[in-house]
């Protein structure tokens, strides 16, 4: 393998970069291996070789590549013309050993340094790093982990999941989002790396949220993470991923696939807040299949990136299945957040609810793109969609693309959309109570997002507010 490249950290180049925003920096990485730029069969063979994967996975990847090549990128939605595959590394293997980290000491110093620069207190850093769950003490965390293991809960990175639990993996992998689904799902299927693998057995309730170890280097979330979550019948848990990821400045493409299977009577929540650097194309497929009596909730926060296309979906396939999407998008200068949801009602008495909140600033643009589809025979299905857009100035833009297809007479579907501008009277009122103009604006925005933010655990809500405030810097005109 003579063409494998050992790449030294290009520290000099990185140090020269301007860190214009507090959250927009990164520290030098030390690569062990990275693929050549571009996407072809050889790159995929190398990925699979390095990961020591079973043959079926290699074949799956190669087939996915064929599908991607046949499909080509979508011709609708935001402008993706700046995305050039020939300039992208499709695989980077970090020097750190693969697998999740058990203790704070194992977190690389540069990651800890990054958290310090984010101004996150250590207790919170541990939480964000996925080490300490909600507690500072490692003892407590290990106890949690032990407890999970005792209950049969599997919580691993996806690569390790494939190795350690091949049967469960093979049974569910790619059943929710097959490579044929869309171009970016096909690309992800070909080159996926990292992500989380979660299995919660029948009747098991996990009280403390399962928080993804969220490494800032290429490891956990990566560019092409693949997350597979299975809630067995009657299980109940909350999976949380990400937060103020200081995102990459060289990798300009992120395309994840998240597959969730919520089996009968389970209750699954998936929350994520992402903050990508402003040159990233963030194209993610998030989908859940929701069985009878199960409840699935997506909470999705999208900040940063150049273009985001993300439509968390619920396929409600069993009677009385319930799906929910709460989403927040912030489109700053030059950014396009094309986010929304899909609710597919394929069984009687299924219910769904979508609350989407977007904020646009300057030349930013946020779009809501949503589908509610009710199949014939999905009797008494009910769906309610509410999307609210807030424009911070006269230039900012927003638009809504609701698609509603109803093939069932007894169904009930509601859709409500509002657009508001940051109100001068509100600002004056708050200022008359002593708040500076930027504080007043931030408060109005926080209030606008509150219905979604209050569904987040406190530390994430705090983090979200901090991010929004940073994004709003310079809004006072």
């Amino acid at each position: 393998m003579s063409d494998l490249t050992n790449v030294n950290p290009d520290a000099e180049k990185l140090e020269g970069m301007e860190h214009t925003k507090q959250y927009d920096f990164r520290l030098p990485e030390t690569y062990f291996y990275r693929s050549e730029k571009g996407l072809d069969r050889r790159v995929i063979e190398k990925i699979s070789y390095f990961k020591e994967e079973p043959e079926w996975m290699l074949q799956f990847r190669l087939k996915a590549l064929e599908i991607a090549e046949k499909k080509g990128p979508p011709r609708w939605g935001p402008d993706l013309s700046g995305l050039d595959f020939d300039r992208i590394y499709f695989y980077i293997r970090p020097t750190e050993r693969q697998g999740t980290v058990d203790s704070w000491d194992e977190i690389p110093e540069e990651v800890r340094e990054t958290y310090r620069r984010l101004g996150v207190p250590e207790a919170e850093q541990r939480v964000l790093a996925g080490v300490g769950a909600q507690y500072e003490s490692e003892m407590v965390y290990h106890k949690l982990k032990e407890e999970w293991e005792k209950k049969g809960v599997i919580f691993l990175d996806t690569d390790t999941g494939l190795k350690k639990h091949p049967e469960i993996f093979k049974e569910y992998f790619s059943t929710v989002v097959p490579p044929e689904d869309n171009y970016y799902a096909a690309v992800n299927s070909a080159v996926w790396s990292g992500g989380s693998f979660v299995y919660v057995p029948e009747g098991v309730e996990v009280e403390v949220p399962l928080q993804a170890y969220f490494l800032l280097n290429a490891q956990s979330i990566g560019q092409f993470e693949r997350t597979l979550i299975i809630g067995a019948p009657g299980s109940k848990f909350h999976y949380i991923e990400g937060c103020t990821a200081p995102a990459y400045t060289t990798d300009s493409f992120h395309s994840g696939v998240i597959e969730i299977i919520a089996q009968d009577g389970s209750n699954v929540r998936y929350s994520t807040i992402q903050n990508w650097s402003h040159n990233v194309y963030n194209l993610v497929t998030q989908r859940a299949v929701v069985h009878a009596g199960a409840s699935m909730g997506w909470l999705d926060g999208n900040l940063g990136s150049k273009v985001t296309m993300k439509y968390p979906s619920c396929y409600l396939v069993g009677e009385h299945a319930h799906g929910e999407v709460l989403s927040i998008a912030f489109a700053g200068d030059g950014q396009h957040q094309d986010a929304g949801s899909k609710m597919i009602h394929a069984a009687p008495h299924t219910t769904s609810s979508v609350v989407s909140k977007s904020i646009s600033k300057g030349t930013g643009r946020s779009s809501y793109r949503g589908l509610v589809q009710i199949y014939e025979g999905a009797e008494f299905a009910r769906s309610n969609v509410e999307c609210d857009a807030l424009l911070l100035d006269e230039v900012a833009k927003t638009d809504t693309y609701p698609y509603i297809e109803i093939n069932e007479k007894t169904a009930h579907v509601g859709h409500e959309a509002t657009v508001s501008k940051l109100d001068e009277e509100q600002i004056f009122y708050l200022m008359s109570r002593g708040l500076a103009e930027d504080e007043a604006m931030a408060l109005i925005v926080r209030g606008f997002l509150d219905p979604v933010a209050k569904e987040l655990p406190l530390e994430y809500a705090v983090e979200l507010n901090r991010l929004i405030e940073l994004e709003m810097e310079g809004s006072v005109g």
């Binding site: 200022m431 008359s432 109570r433 002593g434 708040l435 500076a436 103009e437 109005i444 997002l449 509150d450």
Partner: protein, 253 residues
């Protein structure tokens, strides 16, 4: 004298780029006193209230607003508030998703040096006291600012904020309008609770009714953008009986 008053001196103002509304207002409210400002609809009372607070939709073409001898004209609305001015709005806005408690904590902290945020106990005691003075239930503090409030509740909230923020000078813009007698009594009780040597207020009202519950030290009368006369509290009573035409005739305005 001037370092313990709110003084409006020869104030001329107009809607930004539009019609002139104030044509030389002169008015002094000493700290420790409560004055009433009366006058017919459209005389410029509410406009003046907003101008004192720093509403950017108006511009001042001449005159001065002096807070204890210091001009506030170059100050932003928030700076004026932190300097001790308060306006109880005639139509308070709604701010969805922001609880009253949260908002008041921010407003109080804005008045304190950075790193010296108000303590939890001190804050809570302040709120409790204010809520009690208005015969209100503490649960109101967790409600979002004026979201779904009735007109009367909004007015009560304005007085609640006044009691918590403890300004040196307050302007109450038609705080009595739209209130029934019971609500009026509650609001008056709140304002009277704020009275004292460190507090001056200007009550803007059309009606004498409010002044039965908050007895003013002086009454000023505004007609067509100017204060045309002033007098003791009995003037309000006379106005109520004889109407504004009577004052106009009296002063030849």
């Amino acid at each position: 004298m001037s370092d313990t008053t709110l003084e409006i001196r020869n104030l001329h103002a107009r809607i930004r780029g539009g019609e002139a509304i104030l044509h030389g207002v002169d008015l002094v409210v000493p700290r420790g006193e409560v004055h009433a400002l009366m006058g017919p609809n459209g005389s410029g009372k509410s406009t003046m209230a907003k101008i004192i607070a720093g509403d950017p939709s108006y511009e001042i073409t001449d005159g001065e607003i002096l807070l204890e001898g210091e001009s506030v004209l170059g100050m932003e609305p928030d700076e004026r508030a932190r300097a001790g001015l308060y306006l109880a709005f005639q139509y308070p806005v709604e701010v969805p998703g922001v609880s009253i408690a949260n908002f008041l904590r921010l407003a109080l902290n804005a008045r304190r040096p950075e790193g010296d945020e108000i303590g939890v106990m001190e804050f809570y005691q302040k709120l409790q006291k204010a809520v009690a003075a208005l015969d209100w239930d503490e649960s109101i503090l967790e409600r979002n600012l004026h979201e779904g409030f009735s007109g009367g509740e909004k007015k009560r909230s304005e007085i609640l904020q006044l009691l918590v923020l403890e300004p040196r000078y307050a302007i109450l813009d038609e705080t009595d309008s739209g209130l029934d007698v019971d609500a009026l009594k509650v609001v008056a009780k709140g304002v009277n609770a704020a009275r004292g040597p460190g507090f001056g207020a200007l009550l803007i009202t059309h009606y004498q009714r409010l002044l039965n519950y908050i007895v003013p030290d002086r009454v000023h009368v505004m007609v067509n953008g100017r204060v045309i006369t002033e007098g003791p509290k009995e003037l309000a009573m006379e106005l109520d009986q004889k109407g504004y035409d009577w004052v106009r005739d009296q002063v030849g305005a």
